[in-house]
Amino acid sequence: MIGFNILLHKEWREALRSGKFIWLPAVFLLLGLAQPLTAKFMPDILASAGNLPEGTIIQIPIPKPGEVIAQTLSQFGTVGLLAICLAFMGTISAERRNGTAAWVLVKPVSLFAYVASKWVVQCFIVGFSFGLGFGGAWYYTYLLIGPPDTQAVLISAILYFCWLMFICTVTITASAWLRSPAAAAFVALGSSTVLQLLLGLFEDKLSWLPSGLNAAAMSTLTIGESPPWVGSIFVTIMFVAALMLVSVRGLRKMKG
């Protein structure tokens, strides 16, 4: 992996200077803090919104701590995922279009190092953002609603991070093959949706899909027990490795 360290350093500085290290963590943290607050104060908010006849008793049960954190994860799964895809959709295609990819690749650098440096830094940003947001959600849930089960929270965090890492990899691969960043974001979001749909349809047969990680994280938090997820983790790692090689192929295709 010739050039990996240098490229890693370059990606790192680029992430810092382009503000990705500010806005992605901010997005996740906001989502993480907002969910427990909403869960706690939704009845009050509804009540103060007025328009309700005198004497209406609002009965919205305040959810359990684990459920609140699971709701946060589903926020991460929509807005958070969108943010990740938007942030990284052009990671390779933009550099190819503006010629900076050629600038790097005429130097004695391996294609794999080029892709891997992006992958490492992006997974780090995503991990950091997710950690911050998830930690915030945990803390606020603890303060506002009650202590969730620590073991369940930690297991679900690991599972969910693997799922995010998988989506991150899909985004990179799509960006290596597709000229248009929007198309890459679409492919990444689309594959996340399709994988979750498939899992929903054939839950018993396809639990080994990467989207099984997402589902396992959710059920660990809500019902306290998780379906077996070791298979999903293994499959996801295989998928990630394969996608990295596919990305390198996409880059090589540029040479025709």
Binding site: G19, I22, W23, L30
Partner: protein, 64 residues
Amino acid sequence: MDKSQLIMLLLPVIMIQIILMVTALTYLYRAKSVRGKKWIWALVIVFLNIVGSILFFAVGRRES
């Protein structure tokens, strides 16, 4: 839970929101060119706050 406690809890959220908005506006101000008009982006960032900032960071900037 009384009012002051609530404010203590809401404060970080508002802070982050402000930091995000200010960062986005700073990048907007310093950017040489953006997709579309700068003043439109300023409105988007201020009024759609979190979503506006994300949109700006993700698609509003042009690589120089």
